[in-house]
Amino acid sequence: MKRLTSALLGSALLMLAASPVHAGEKIFTAKKCNACHYTQGPAREKSIADQLAKKGPELWYAGSKFQQKWLQAWLQDPKPIRSLKYNSLTVNNPGNHPKLAAADAKSVTDFLMTLTSKSVKSGFIKPKKNPKGRLIFVKKMPCSGCHAFPGKKKFKGGRSGPSLVGAGKRLNPDWIFAYLKDTKEFKPVRSMPVFKGLLSEKNMKKVAQYVASFK
């Protein structure tokens, strides 16, 4: 019985060691992605200085934040999401994020998709172009002041936050809602206002649906 248990445990460990998740993490480390992105939660930032010391966004909840298909494609052709360099208000994004080969991009994506947050409930938000969400995003709250967004209007949004053009393909709709609702869980220090207590959960849901509909 002991031998059988040991054999089963041994095979399980072997399978785990050979799984693509581990391969992705190895590539992530070998390519020095962890020099700019940390992957172990919870959030570490306690002060503005902590946030400013980071070279790139934290990825410890990447699996909850991104859509797998988009992430895998983006790692192979990383077009800037931010107009400005990370944490800068004066320097444009140089667009020099390293590219990964297709196989590596798949492995790293598989790894990143395992990094999730319990605060993100899945299947809660469905993309929807709803007028209430639009009204809050464009008129009642300052979202468009910092985020580029798609539309026919002359004003296409600000530059200090990440662009939300194509957010429907990039972001998990449930994460958008969770990020509005439990901001400090993901980013305790950020230059975007905390809306919890200012915007009802019902309205946050409307905004999340609206942003998730962005092409």
Binding site: I48, A49, Q51, L52, S83, L84, L89, T90, K139, K140, M141, P142, G145, C146, K154, F155, K156, G158, R159, S160, S191, P193, V194, F195, K196, G197, L198
Partner: protein, 124 residues
């Protein structure tokens, strides 16, 4: 010995209370301003942050214009910082920061803005 211990505890308590109630020092206030406000108001406070383009729906306030800044009281400014533009019938592009920054930081920001305009507010 007991006496000296209680003096130390009292001193520590006083220092702690002071730390909680005192606005952030100048260098920190500038960091707070640069982090939250400069996105729209610019690093020098001239209303020309990177979000402001020709199509931006409103002109963010230029804090260096003393004539305009004198019309506002310190309380007016703190109110807009905490509750956003609409609280003073101004643009919603000015966000409400009450859930993001502390009262002490807001007080320090008001003082910082007074430094930028080199002016005094209405009623002060």
């Amino acid at each position: 010995m007991k006496m000296s211990k209680s003096i130390i505890y009292t001193a520590l308590l006083c220092a702690f209370s002071l730390a909680l109630s005192t606005p952030a020092p100048a260098a920190e206030v500038e960091q707070v301003f640069n982090f939250y406000c400069a996105q729209c108001h610019g690093l020098e406070g001239k209303g020309d942050g990177p979000n402001v383009s020709k199509t931006f729906p409103v002109d963010p306030r230029n804090f260096t214009k003393a004539k305009e800044m004198e019309k506002l009281s310190d309380a007016d400014m703190k109110n807009v910082i905490m509750d956003g533009g609409p609280s003073a019938s101004k643009s919603p592009m000015m966000p409400p920061w009450s859930k993001t920054i502390s009262e002490a930081d807001a007080d320090a920001l008001v003082k910082y803005l007074r430094k930028l305009c080199n002016c005094k507010g209405k009623g002060s």
